[in-house]
């Protein structure tokens, strides 16, 4: 399994009410995660690969993996570009 894991060397996060705010350590830019973005972020904990992540979200939202998949892939891709995510 190639697990998805957040890379804490490149960010710091905090919770503000129902959102998670992530700051990129390199640039100082902020990103606010709410709703499904926040849930997806929290599920990226090193115990799931991409398919398991999609499957969990699909179950939560009663949608098929085929519908959830592209959005999750886009989110993963964005996190990798930012350096917040690595794949082990």
């Amino acid at each position: 399994m190639t697990a998805l894991i957040r890379d804490p060397a490149n960010f710091v996060e905090t919770q503000v009410e129902d959102e998670i705010v992530v700051m990129a350590l390199g640039t100082g830019n902020f990103f606010a995660l709410s709703g499904t973005a926040r849930e997806t972020w929290e599920l990226i904990d090193g115990t799931r690969d991409r398919d398991a992540l999609v499957a969990d979200l699909a179950t939560r939202y009663s949608l098929s993996p085929e519908i959830i998949g592209p959005d999750v892939d886009a989110f993963i891709s964005e996190l990798r570009v930012l350096g917040f995510l690595r794949i082990d």
Binding site: V16, V21, L25, L33
Partner: protein, 292 residues
């Protein structure tokens, strides 16, 4: 720079500390701070001291526990001196003493402070002054000093600066016109019709001014609150520089402040002919908030 007519603050209070730390004496101001040489028109800042030399030759030195030393050329414009004392220097003293200088004007209503923040020219001073016509006393203009030392509500220190308005703002606010701020600076000193406040009060909300098609009060999304605390104004830069925190420490500090500071957005048209309508909306909002 003790506020005239104000009760003597406790020496250990934030107000007392600022009163003590802003005591003024004349003397020679050095040209170096630690290992750095000061250039005219620039300033130097550390966690304990602030040094400035204006292009006109005015020298200002503050060191924690020692107050302010001013070196003033004979030809110095007293109005320029006052601008420096009440502007960047005051904010630096606040920051060095653990207070947060915030770029905002504010009013007081029912024992609480409502701050108005936004970019320069957003209308903060005009709005705060105009709310005087609704009985809300001016709490401060341009810089709101916050005491974050308590665990709960943030305490605001009463303003140290005179109200300054552009001529159009003076007309819209209905404030009493005084003299021009300085020969090279055409803003006008003014007195708000409901007067000012001279004692610290708790912060009710920070309201960020924006331009929009119709006047309305909007929420600030939780994730935006941290970002709202950072801008390009010198007050923010001074606070950041004095703290000398790492990026992570600064982020955590901002998160703590954001969690304690109630925030809203006031979106309204910027056109003068719609000012009264906008004023009525924000006045009504403050009155309803303060009575709940």
């Amino acid at each position: 720079m003790q506020i005239a007519g104000a009760p003597e603050p406790s020496p250990c209070s934030a107000a007392g500390i600022m009163a003590s730390e802003t005591r003024l004496r004349r003397g020679v101001v050095p040209s170096r701070l630690d290992d750095q040489t000061l250039q005219p028109g620039r300033y130097l800042l550390s966690s304990e001291a602030f040094l400035l030399r204006s292009k006109s030759g005015i020298g200002l030195m503050y060191r924690k526990g020692e107050g302010i030393t001013i070196e003033q050329p004979e030809c110095a414009d007293e109005r320029e001196v006052a601008l420096w004392l009440n502007g960047m220097l005051y904010s630096a003293i606040a920051a060095i003493n653990g207070l947060l200088p915030f770029h905002a004007s504010a009013v007081a209503h029912n024992g609480h402070v409502y701050g108005f923040s936004g970019a320069s020219g957003a209308g903060k001073s005009t709005l705060a002054a105009a709310l005087s016509r609704y009985g809300m006393q001016l709490f401060c203009d341009d810089t709101l000093v916050l005491d974050l030392s308590g665990d709960g509500t943030i305490t605001c220190l009463p303003g140290h600066k005179r109200l300054k308005l552009w001529p159009e703002g003076l007309r819209l606010a209905g404030a009493r016109e005084r003299e021009q701020v300085a020969a090279h600076y055409p803003k006008i000193f003014a007195d708000p019709v409901a007067g000012t406040v001279a004692k610290p009060l708790p912060l009710a909300a920070m309201i960020f001014l924006e331009v929009g098609p119709a006047p309305q009060i909007l929420s600030v999304p939780a994730g935006e609150r941290i970002a709202r605390l950072q801008d390009e104004h010198y007050t923010c830069k001074i606070f950041e520089q004095v703290g000398n925190l790492t990026r992570v420490q600064r982020f955590k500090q901002l998160a703590q402040i954001a969690a304690r500071m109630p925030m809203h957005r006031f979106s309204r048209p910027f056109a003068a002919e719609q000012f009264e309508e906008s004023l009525a909306v924000i006045a009504k909002y403050i009155c309803s908030e303060s009575s709940s």
